[in-house]
C-alpha cells in the first residue's frame, strides 16, 4: 500500500451507474467499472452479491440476478419492481432514480 486510500464505495469504482425499467415489471441496474482492477474488486469483494442487493431493496436473494460481463467490465443487476411502472403506489415511473443505494454500498 502506498498510503492512498482505496475507494470505499461502489460508485467510486464505476464510470457508469444507472437504473432503468426493463419492461413494466423489472428494474435493472447497469454498472461499468472504471478499469479492470475496479471490476475485479467489485466482483471479488462480494459487495454486489445477490444477498446484499436483496437486503438493500427488501427482496429475497433468489429474486436478484447479478451478471458480470467481463469483456466490457460491466455488471448488470436485475430485480422485480415493488410495483409495476406507473401503478398508483409507484414512485419512479422510469425507474431511473433507484441506483443510489447500490452506488453507496461499501466495498
Amino acid at each position: 500500500m502506498d498510503g492512498r486510500r482505496l475507494p470505499q464505495s461502489v460508485d467510486q469504482l464505476c464510470s457508469m451507474i444507472r437504473s432503468k425499467n426493463a419492461g413494466t415489471a423489472m428494474l435493472t441496474f447497469d454498472l461499468i467499472a472504471r478499469d479492470r482492477a475496479s471490476f475485479d474488486r467489485l466482483i471479488g469483494s462480494g459487495c454486489l452479491a445477490e444477498s446484499v442487493v436483496a437486503e438493500l431493496y427488501g427482496l429475497q436473494p433468489e429474486e436478484v440476478s447479478v451478471y458480470a460481463v467481463e469483456d466490457i467490465l460491466a455488471i448488470k443487476i436485475t430485480v422485480p419492481r415493488a410495483y409495476s411502472t406507473g401503478a398508483p403506489d409507484d414512485r419512479d415511473v422510469y425507474g431511473c432514480q433507484q441506483a443510489a443505494p447500490i452506488g453507496g454500498l461499501p466495498v
Binding site: 457508469m16 432503468k20 425499467n21 426493463a22 419492461g23 413494466t24 415489471a25 423489472m26 435493472t28 447497469d30 461499468i32 438493500l56 431493496y57 427488501g58 429474486e63 440476478s65 451478471y67 460481463v69 469483456d71 466490457i72 460491466a74 448488470k76 436485475t78 422485480p80 409495476s84 411502472t85 406507473g86 401503478a87 398508483p88 403506489d89 409507484d90 414512485r91 419512479d92 415511473v93 422510469y94 432514480q97 433507484q98 443510489a100 443505494p101 453507496g104
Partner: protein
C-alpha cells in the same frame, strides 16, 4: 444492406442535417420506433401519445420524403406511443395527408395488434398465456377481465410480410423495437443473429453513440460476416464501449434477448472500433428460433382517478430532526382523512410524499435529512371517481396546511407554500399494467392483422388493396 434508424422515438425531432447525411449514404430502409411502455400505463389506457401530432408529422414526413427519394420502405412501429389500433390509424392519416400534399401515391401496410379482454380470457383458459420470467405478480382471470385495453408486441414476421407486399410505408401497432430494423435484413436472408443484433443496437436512435442522443440518427450495415454501426451526425461517434454498453439498456439480461420469433444470444460477439466513429460487430450472434410464436402482451386496467397538490416547506421547525414536524403532520393528516372516508383500501389511497426526505426511495432511504433546509410535499390521492379524489385531497390539503406539530412557531399561518392557485389539480384517470406475460401462438396471424392499401396521391379515397389477412 443498410438500415437507418432516424431516432429513438417518432416526434423527438431528429436533426435534419443528420438525416440528409444519412439519406446520402443510401439506406435500404428507414425506420423509427414510435412507442414505449417506459412512461407508464397511461398512454395505453387513454390512447394518448407522448409526442405531439405536429412533431410526429414533421418526423414522419421527412422519413417519407427520404423513402420516396431512394425508393426504399419506411417502417414505423408501436404507433402513437402505445401501438393501439387507433394509433396506427392516426399515423396512417399522416401518411395519407403527405401523399395528398405531395401528389405521390403510396402503398401503405397497416399492422394491427390490439387484443380484446375476451380474446385474452379465451387464451388464458386454453393455457396460452405465460408469465414472463421475473414477474412476481400472479395472472388471474379476474385481472384479465378488467383489462380496458391490451396490445401484443409483434415481431419481425408481420413486417417482413408487409415488405413482401412491396409496401412503401409500414405502420405497425405495438412491435418489438428490434424487429423494425431486423425485418429488412431478414427478408434479404442476412444471418438472423446479425439482423436482430442490428435491431437491438438501433432501437433507441443514436443512444448507442457517444454522447448518447436518442433524438438522432444511427445507421447500420448488415453483412454475412457481421455488422457495422455509425452515427451520421459528425458530433456523435460510436465506440466499442458505447455500443456494447447500449446492449445492456432497458433489458433484464446482458446478452440474452427474447423476441417473438426466438432468442438472440450475443455472448460470443466482439465489438471492434472500426474507424474513428464506427463499430464493427463480429463473432457468433446466435438466434435460436422458438417453438411457438410468443408475443409480449401489454394490458392495462383502470385504477380510478387522481388528484394532486404540491407545496413547499421552508419552516425550520417542520424540517429539523429529520423532518420530524412534517412527519407528525403527515400521520395526523392521514388519521383525520381516514376518520371521514374510512380506512384506505383498494378503493382509495392517499400519499403524502416528502421530497428532500424520502420522496423517491421511501422506506429504502438511508440518508439523514438534517442538512436540508427546504422540502417539497406532494399530496397524491387516487379514488374511484374524480369527485371523490378531489374531495379526499381537499380534506388532506387542509390538514397538512393547518396541522399542529411539536415546536410550532407559525401559529395558525400555514405549513405549505403553494406556487399557484388553486393548489389542487385533478389529474384524471389512473391505469395500471397487468403483470408482464406473453401469449404463445402458432403464428403471429392468430392475433396480428394486416391491411395493405394503395393511396392514389390525388387526395382521393383510399383504395383498399383487398389483401387483408389475419383475424377477421
Amino acid at each position: 444492406m443498410r438500415v437507418l434508424s432516424v431516432s429513438g422515438f417518432l416526434g423527438y425531432g431528429f436533426p435534419e442535417s443528420s438525416f440528409r447525411s444519412a439519406i446520402s449514404q443510401k439506406p435500404d430502409a428507414i425506420v423509427c420506433d414510435a412507442g414505449t411502455n417506459d412512461a407508464g400505463p397511461f398512454y395505453l389506457g387513454s390512447g394518448a401519445s407522448m409526442t405531439s401530432q405536429e412533431a410526429c408529422r414533421r418526423d414522419l414526413w421527412l422519413m417519407l420524403e427520404g423513402g420516396h427519394a431512394l425508393g426504399v420502405p419506411v417502417i414505423v412501429g408501436s404507433a402513437w406511443t402505445a401501438g393501439t389500433d387507433q394509433g396506427v390509424d392516426t399515423l396512417a392519416e399522416l401518411v395519407r395527408a403527405w401523399s395528398a400534399e405531395k401528389g405521390i401515391s403510396v402503398r401503405l401496410a397497416k399492422l394491427y395488434s390490439e387484443i380484446s379482454a375476451t380474446q385474452l380470457c379465451d387464451l388464458y383458459e386454453r393455457g396460452n398465456l405465460e408469465l414472463m420470467g421475473g414477474e412476481s405478480m400472479a395472472l388471474t382471470r379476474e385481472s384479465i377481465e378488467e383489462v380496458s385495453r391490451a396490445v401484443c408486441a409483434m415481431g419481425a414476421t408481420p413486417i417482413m410480410r408487409a415488405l413482401d407486399e412491396e409496401s412503401d410505408v409500414i405502420i405497425a401497432g405495438r412491435a418489438s423495437d428490434a424487429a423494425l430494423t431486423a425485418a429488412l435484413p431478414l427478408v434479404r436472408q442476412a444471418p438472423p443473429g446479425f439482423a436482430w443484433q442490428a435491431g437491438r443496437i438501433l432501437e433507441c436512435g443514436a443512444c448507442a453513440a457517444e454522447p448518447a442522443d436518442t433524438a438522432d440518427c444511427l445507421m447500420t450495415e448488415v453483412r454475412d460476416d457481421g455488422l457495422t454501426v455509425w452515427a451520421t451526425n459528425p458530433k456523435l461517434r460510436c465506440t466499442a464501449e458505447s455500443v456494447a454498453a447500449h446492449m445492456l439498456y432497458e433489458t433484464p439480461h446482458p446478452y440474452v434477448f427474447r423476441e417473438p420469433e426466438g432468442t438472440l444470444d450475443t455472448r460470443d460477439v466482439q465489438y471492434e472500433q472500426h474507424s474513428s466513429g464506427s463499430v464493427l460487430i463480429r463473432g457468433n450472434a446466435r438466434f435460436i428460433p422458438g417453438d411457438r410464436y410468443s408475443m409480449r402482451v401489454e394490458g392495462v386496467r383502470s385504477r380510478g382517478y387522481r388528484s394532486i397538490a404540491l407545496g413547499g416547506v421552508r419552516d425550520p421547525a417542520l424540517i429539523r430532526n429529520g423532518a420530524e414536524g412534517m412527519r407528525v403532520v403527515r400521520s395526523e393528516t392521514i388519521k383525520r382523512v381516514e376518520e371521514m372516508f374510512g380506512s384506505q383500501s383498494s378503493s382509495w389511497m392517499l400519499r403524502v410524499l416528502l421530497y428532500g426526505v424520502d420522496g423517491v426511495l421511501g422506506d429504502r432511504e438511508s440518508e439523514e435529512t438534517d442538512a436540508c433546509h427546504e422540502i417539497a410535499v406532494l399530496l397524491d390521492v387516487v379514488a374511484r371517481s374524480q369527485e371523490e379524489a378531489d374531495a379526499i385531497l381537499a380534506l388532506a390539503r387542509a390538514h397538512v396546511v393547518h396541522g399542529d406539530f411539536p415546536g410550532r412557531l407559525n401559529i395558525n399561518a400555514g405549513n405549505l407554500a403553494f406556487p399557484f392557485s388553486p393548489s389542487d389539480v385533478p389529474v384524471g384517470e389512473v391505469f395500471e399494467f397487468l403483470p408482464a406475460f406473453v401469449v404463445n401462438c402458432d403464428s403471429p396471424w392468430n392475433l396480428v392483422r394486416m391491411e395493405v392499401m394503395d393511396i392514389p396521391g390525388t387526395g382521393g379515397e383510399i383504395q383498399s388493396g383487398g389483401r387483408a389477412r389475419g383475424r377477421s
